[in-house]
């Protein structure tokens, strides 16, 4: 997987992304980052929101698995009770791994949420959260 894609976004209210992270192994290397791809990823993720809202009604679980795809890019989604959406753009990770990843990120997210100074519409800027998400990604996706 030379050019694996792994982008994680938390979308809050009114479709505002409150957290974005490129979790692919190449993300650490800024020179390797493909800017065009970043545009495309955002577009695909944003477009997938429609699909997420459609799929919401088909299941009672928070994890929606793959909701949308564009060419070879898949979008998996997880929706919290407050209708905050976790989206993961990937190129065919196992659904189990994605599910576990979402579940663990959700735990971390809840901790952020419990911060009395955090408003759910604000961007998540906590470096600890960022670090934990990246660790989880490494654990589950071996990036």
């Amino acid at each position: 997987m030379g050019t694996s894609v792994l982008t994680f976004v938390i979308v809050g209210h009114e479709d505002h992304p409150i957290y974005e992270a490129d979790l692919s192994p190449k993300a650490a290397d800024p020179a390797a980052r493909d800017e065009r791809a970043q545009y495309l990823h955002q577009f695909v993720l944003h477009a997938a929101l429609d699909a997420v809202e459609e799929q919401l009604w088909n299941t009672t679980s928070m994890h929606l698995s793959v909701v949308d795809k564009f060419n070879n890019l898949l979008v998996s989604a997880f929706v919290t009770a407050a209708n905050v959406k976790f989206l993961l753009l990937h190129d065919g990770r196992s659904d189990d791994a994605v599910k576990l990843f979402f579940k663990d990120v959700y735990e971390v997210y809840l901790k952020v949420l419990m911060n009395p100074f955090f408003t759910p519409t604000a961007r998540i800027t906590s470096p600890a959260f960022n670090q934990k998400v990246r660790t989880l990604a490494r654990t589950y996706f071996r990036t």
């Binding site: 992304p17 970043q38 944003h46 429609d50």
Partner: protein, 1247 residues
């Protein structure tokens, strides 16, 4: 368009038209129409009723029928390239026509429910695209079922010519390939051209018709008459629209049913020479043709084919025929036939599949689909889905379709797919947006800029403001570039501007975007002249943190003063402004105040500066240059923009480094009275782009709310100022005020008051809030240094010309506030200044915050303002310097003096403090005694004559962070005190400043004590007042900072006041024993030596007492609690140290009082033992008069009692056992007993 209609309209039988050149010419020359054009409008029959019976037994009636006409020469498929080229043209023409670039935002369209099913250019494209696909190899929709041969009526031999015409006619591809039978229905038409004006020609034509009919069949030959009109534009039929509707665009190279070039349009328009009679003859001919020839022919054909199919069932041979049959059967618009067709087609498809004739198979499948649709079956074709509301599937089909297509088609399909998404409920706006962006990309790739622009514009609203940074960046980038190419520079500027806040991008992109934006701005400026100011996002302004500074009735001298709330100042200023106390206001005042508030503006004074503090930040990694940063305003007179006669605008310029933040105060000076509103800020970014940001009026901007209306003043009105005419204005400068002072330091800071206004002012009053700050009543000693001010006599002339004095010097108000008033007659002209010394004397470490406020009035009458106020707040750090702890004890060798011990600790870490002077208040005096401590060698010169104090000379220096003790004698006030005159550096207690601080300190101290007492903290030990003795001490010191090169700095002078210093133990009656300390006596002669002692007693209280002295007896009890001991001194040379003596109790319980002598136990000293081992020897006896009564000892009086003691050997004796008891009858019989002081006496053997 309804798809069912579409099918019935488009998939109709085709008639091939072969016309002779003469006939064409006759038609084209005058009308601009080809023969085909002429026929087409009349190919639709809707009032038919033709009975048809095909497969089944029942007949049905055909009510409507359509025919399509094509010239045989044009019946071929155009080349791919030509077709694509043509289609491009179609799309761009359609886009221009429908103003694609003005597409509105999709969200608004969605709100208004104005979303179209499909875009006009897509419809146009589809129509033309289908046409270019006609006459393909595998399909027969467009294969002719009949051939119409057209000859000019002038032809010599019509029959032969008709034959030639058919033979020479170019055939459609399928016929050429031999797949189609050549034998199709033929029909013959003679065209009579009236414009030739030949007499009787029509008759001749009719004759020819007859001959033709005779040879070719009566029903298949017709004559039509055209060009009977004059060609005059005035009498045309007005059918131009009719003709035009059926003319389709020509493809270069021809084909697809249209000629490569169209005949020129005559001046009078299309069909210029046609009359209604001509048109009627054509229409009549076509109807005849259809009803009489075509339909019966088709009916027979279908029936025959069906028979063939059912008979032979399958086999390749059927192929051609069935194709033909399929054609006709599909064309039959009646429902029963669709079913027939369907079954047959299914049969066929399996045939083709087996035969591996894929192309044909596909064709059949397609046909199947169509047929199925017409019969109402299900089908997943996109169009069909759309028709049935399944937009989602339609989208899916189109998305799938677009991948392999070339750009334009893909773009159109994508766009269409996107549109369908909007029709899903709920609308899939975000997916729509994505598809539109993809479509836009494809459009751009195939050079359809308009459509690309339109696609992007529509979706901008979906993404805008959602913080999907990359998406927005991409959209604006593309839109900006396209707008620039399209010449819409302003739009380009707007889009490039939207890209500027791109902190997430790498630095080189940021720089690139900025450059791109500035270039666009320059281009736009070059094209259109000056641009209007833009709402630039750079730098980012935080308008919430905007602060407005202005001076109305109240002027704040420094920023710190602004931090205190209005109420605080109102309270302070209450003495100036009687009756303005806020607490006294009632609802009755409300009306007038509301009126004031209704003016909705602040007050400012002409000529004085208004300031707005703004916070600017540069979010980028690129440096920004801001120039001409200034406020935007609007004056009542209409003036705005830069500086003019009404307003002077002060511009700022600064450069913001990457990521930097700056706080800038923008200033503006109104010059004339009127109403002034601050509107926003303007700046020039990097020298090119003019940015502007308006203040939002709703937002709360902090300001110190003015005076009495803090609440009524609605925050949103504060940007408006009512500018008053010029006023006086007092400015204050506190020069030489250090940021830190030492605890107890006496610092003088010159206070400089200056009138910077435009009018003279008068009636200055000042209020100082803190007791540690004081103002001199006059300003005469400003010139001298601080020391000189404090010390020395007031030797200066009382009425020096330079000095002014306060009318009301230092009226002390509650809580240490001081009010000063200058003479009302004193006028401070503009520019004039007044300096005054201000004394600071901080007394507690920490910080000293004090407020000063000034009141003044303009000397003339100014409407709107009777007085003004100036406020100043200063905070000074106070560092601990000298800690002094006094302790006073009685002096053992004097009945009057006391011993004062000062423990002095230097709290400074680096600088030594030199003690200069110790003064004592009242008539007590201090004299130096000796000193112990690390600098014990310092010699203290006693200056008793200096009255209340002593100066330490050379000064005692306390090293940093050390402590030492000083000892002094305190002399009671009995001795007369002279006036104080101890040189220049002597600080008299009577100095006004010193006196003030001393009093204030005492007040503060008492205040503290009182509060403590009230809280019950310190209930423990309030000493009884009569016993207390309190002296107030003042210790003056100076500190010279030891810094290299800073020698010029004057010493810092400080004073510590010690209040109410008391003796540690208060003794009502002081006593002292006098006597000879060495007595010589010849014990050889006389075994007993009498030593005489005098006990002096002094009543220290202010009440008379009765005193009783008893020697050798316990004072009132049988136990002596003091020790009496003696020490034999064999060598009688030195007195052993007291501490080494063992304590031996004297006397035993039960010894009766009144015994003459107290005898100790007798014992012999151990041989060879030291002095410690010596046994106590009670070898002295009080004798003589051992009890004395002084019934009345007056207050302060001294009395003496003589005592005798008998000693029986040489040695040193400590004589104790004198008990003194006293009673104060007037003080509630205060009674106490105390042992008198021990007295040492040495008795020597006389030689």
């Amino acid at each position: 368009m309804d798809f069912r209609n579409y099918i019935t309209q488009e998939f109709t039988p085709v008639v091939m038209v072969v016309s002779s050149p003469q006939a064409e010419a006759a038609c084209q020359q005058h009308n601009g129409l080809t023969v085909v054009d002429l026929l087409r409008p009349y190919g639709f029959f809707h009032h038919l009723s033709v009975p048809v019976r095909t497969v089944g037994d029942t007949a049905y009636r055909i009510k409507e029928f359509r025919l399509r006409f094509f010239a045989s020469a044009d019946m071929f498929q155009p080349s791919q390239e030509a077709a694509d080229e043509y289609l491009k043209g179609v799309v761009s023409a359609s886009a221009t026509e429908h103003k694609a670039h003005e597409a509105q935002d999709v969200l608004q369209a969605l709100k208004k429910d104005e979303v179209a099913d499909s875009t006009p250019w897509f419809n146009g494209y589809r129509k033309e695209f289908v046409r270019t696909l006609a006459f393909g190899e595998h399909e027969t929709f467009d294969h002719p079922i009949a051939c119409l041969l057209v000859l000019h009526a002038q032809a010599e031999d019509p029959v032969a010519d008709f034959g030639d015409l058919f033979k020479s006619a170019p055939l459609p591809p399928l016929m050429k390939a031999g797949l189609m039978e050549h034998k199709i229905l033929k029909h013959y038409l003679l065209l009579h051209d009236d414009s030739l004006k030949l007499d009787g020609s029509y008759l001749k034509a009719e004759e020819k018709l007859r001959s033709v009919r005779a040879s070719l069949g009566a029903s298949s030959c017709h004559l039509a008459r055209i060009n009977s009109g004059s060609g005059d534009p005035a009498c045309t039929l007005g059918y131009e629209g009719l003709w035009k509707a059926h003319i389709r665009g020509s493809i270069p190279g021809g084909g697809a049913g249209e000629p490569a070039e169209r005949p020129p349009v005559p001046a009078a328009g299309l069909g210029a020479r046609l009359t209604s009679a001509d048109v009627d003859s054509i229409s009549k001919f076509l109807e005849d043709f259809t009803v009489r020839a075509l339909l019966p022919h088709l009916e027979g054909r279908v029936r025959g084919l069906n028979h063939q199919v059912t008979a032979t069932r399958r086999g390749l041979r059927n192929q051609i025929k069935t194709l033909l049959w399929r054609k006709s059967s599909a064309d039959s618009p009646a429902a029963p036939d669709y079913h027939t067709a369907l079954s047959t087609l299914r049969l066929l498809s399996s045939d083709y599949k087996i035969d591996k004739a894929w192309r044909n198979y596909a064709g059949v499948q397609e046909m199947l689909g169509l047929t199925l649709f017409m019969t109402g079956g299900s089908m997943s074709e996109a169009e069909y889905s759309r028709q049935h509301g399944q937009f989602g599937e339609a989208n899916y089909a189109l998305m799938k379709a677009h991948f392999q297509e070339e750009n334009l088609r893909a773009a159109l399909l994508l766009e269409q797919a996107a549109l369908y998404l909007l029709h899903i409920s709920p609308p899939g706006i975000r997916k729509f947006a994505f598809h539109m962006v993809l479509a836009g990309l494809r459009f751009n790739a195939c050079d359809q800029k308009q459509l690309g622009l339109s696609a992007y514009r529509q979706v901008l609203g979906v993404y805008a403001g959602r913080q999907w940074s990359f998406i927005e960046e991409h959209l604006h980038d593309v839109l900006g570039k396209q707008s620039r190419e399209a010449g819409d520079l302003e739009a380009a500027v707007q889009h490039f501007m939207a890209m500027l806040p791109c902190a997430h991008s790498p630095e080189h992109w940021q720089a690139h975007y900025l450059r791109q934006f500035l270039e666009a701005v320059q281009q736009a400026q070059a094209a259109k002249g000056e641009l209007a100011a833009l709402e630039l996002p750079l730098p980012s302004l935080n308008l919430d943190r905007m602060t407005i500074f202005f001076d109305d009735q109240v002027v704040h001298a420094n920023a710190e003063a602004l931090k205190y709330p209005e109420e605080h100042w109102r309270k302070l200023e209450a003495p100036f402004l009687p009756g303005s106390d806020a607490s006294l206001s009632s609802w009755l005042d409300g009306a007038s105040r509301n009126n004031l508030a209704a003016l909705q503006c602040n007050t400012a004074v002409a000529g004085e500066t208004l300031g707005v503090d703004l916070e600017l930040a540069n979010p980028l990694a690129v440096e920004l240059q801001l120039a001409h940063l200034r406020l935007v305003y609007e004056h009542e007179s209409g003036a705005s923009g830069g500086s003019n006669a009404y307003v002077q605008v002060l511009e700022e310029a600064l450069s913001l480094k990457a990521g930097a933040r700056a706080r800038v105060r923008l200033k503006l000076r109104p010059l004339r009275p009127g109403l002034l509103t601050l509107k926003g800020v303007e700046w020039l970014l990097n020298g090119h782009a003019l940015g502007r940001r308006m203040f939002t009026v709703r937002k709360r901007t902090h300001r110190r709310s003015n005076s009495r209306l803090p609440k009524q003043r609605a925050a949103n009105h504060i940007l408006t100022f009512s500018v008053l005419p010029a006023m006086p204005r007092l400015d204050v400068a506190l020069d030489d005020l250090p940021s830190r002072l030492l605890e107890g330091e006496m610092h003088r800071a010159p206070l400089l008051l200056r009138n910077t206004g435009a009018m003279p002012l008068q009636s200055i009053r000042m209020l100082i809030s803190h007791p540690d700050v004081h103002c001199n009543p006059d300003n005469s000693d400003l010139g001298a240094d601080a020391m000189a001010c404090l010390a020395g006599e007031r030797s200066r002339p009382a009425s020096s010309s330079a000095s002014e004095s306060l009318e009301e010097p230092g009226l002390i108000l509650k809580a240490g506030q001081q009010l000063y008033a200058w003479s009302p007659g004193m006028v401070l002209a503009p520019g004039q200044q007044l300096s005054w010394p201000l004394w600071l004397h901080p007394r507690t470490p920490g910080s000293l915050t004090f407020h000063c406020t000034w009141y003044y009035e303009p000397s003339g009458v100014v409407e709107g303002m009777k007085h003004r106020l100036l406020r100043l707040t200063q905070t000074i750090d106070v560092q601990a310097a000298l800690r002094v702890t006094p302790s006073i004890s009685i002096c053992q060798d004097d009945l009057h003096r006391c011993l004062l011990r000062l423990d002095v600790e230097n709290g400074q870490a680096t600088s030594p403090i030199a003690l200069r002077q110790l003064s004592c208040s009242g008539s007590w005096r201090v004299s130096s005694l000796s000193m112990e401590g690390p600098h014990g060698s310092a010699d203290a010169r006693q200056e008793d004559e200096a009255g209340g104090g002593t100066s330490l000379d050379p000064q005692v220096v306390v090293a940093p962070l050390t402590r030492l003790s000083l000892f002094f004698h305190l002399h009671p006030p009995s001795s007369a005190t002279g006036d104080i005159s101890a040189g220049a550096s002597w600080i008299p207690l009577a100095n006004q400043v010193v006196q003030y601080f001393k009093t204030q300190g005492r007040l503060t101290r008492q205040g503290v004590l009182m509060t403590r007492r009230s809280t019950g903290d310190l209930l423990a030990s309030p000493p009884p007042a009569p016993l207390g003795w309190g002296a107030d001490l003042m210790l003056a010191w100076e500190l010279r900072e030891q810094q290299a090169g800073a020698a010029a700095r004057p010493a810092r002078l400080g004073i510590n006041h010690l209040y109410n210093c008391k003796m540690q133990e208060a003794v009502p009656v002081r006593m002292m024993v006098h006597g000879e300390s060495v007595v010589r006596h010849g014990f050889a002669n006389d075994g007993m030596c009498l030593v005489r002692l005098v006990l002096c007693l002094r009543n220290c209280l202010d009440q008379p007492a009765s005193v009783c002295v008893e020697a050798g007896a316990g004072p009132g009890s049988s136990t002596l609690d003091s020790t009496g001991s003696w020490c034999a001194a064999p060598g009688s040379s030195a007195l052993p140290a007291h501490a080494s003596l063992p304590a031996i109790p004297l006397g035993t319980p039960g010894v009766p009082a009144g015994m003459l002598a107290t005898l100790g136990s007798t014992g012999q000293p151990d041989s060879g033992a030291g002095p410690l081992a010596l046994p106590a020897t009670p070898d002295y006896v009080w004798c003589g008069r051992t009890r004395a009564n002084i019934p009345q000892l007056e207050a302060g009086q001294t009395s003496q009692v003589e005592l005798q003691v008998a000693v029986f050997g040489a040695g040193t004796y400590e004589l104790t056992g004198v008990g003194v008891s006293w009673t104060y009858p007037d003080l509630d019989n205060l009674h106490a007993t105390k042992l008198g002081p021990p007295f040492l006496v040495t008795v020597e053997e006389a030689a």
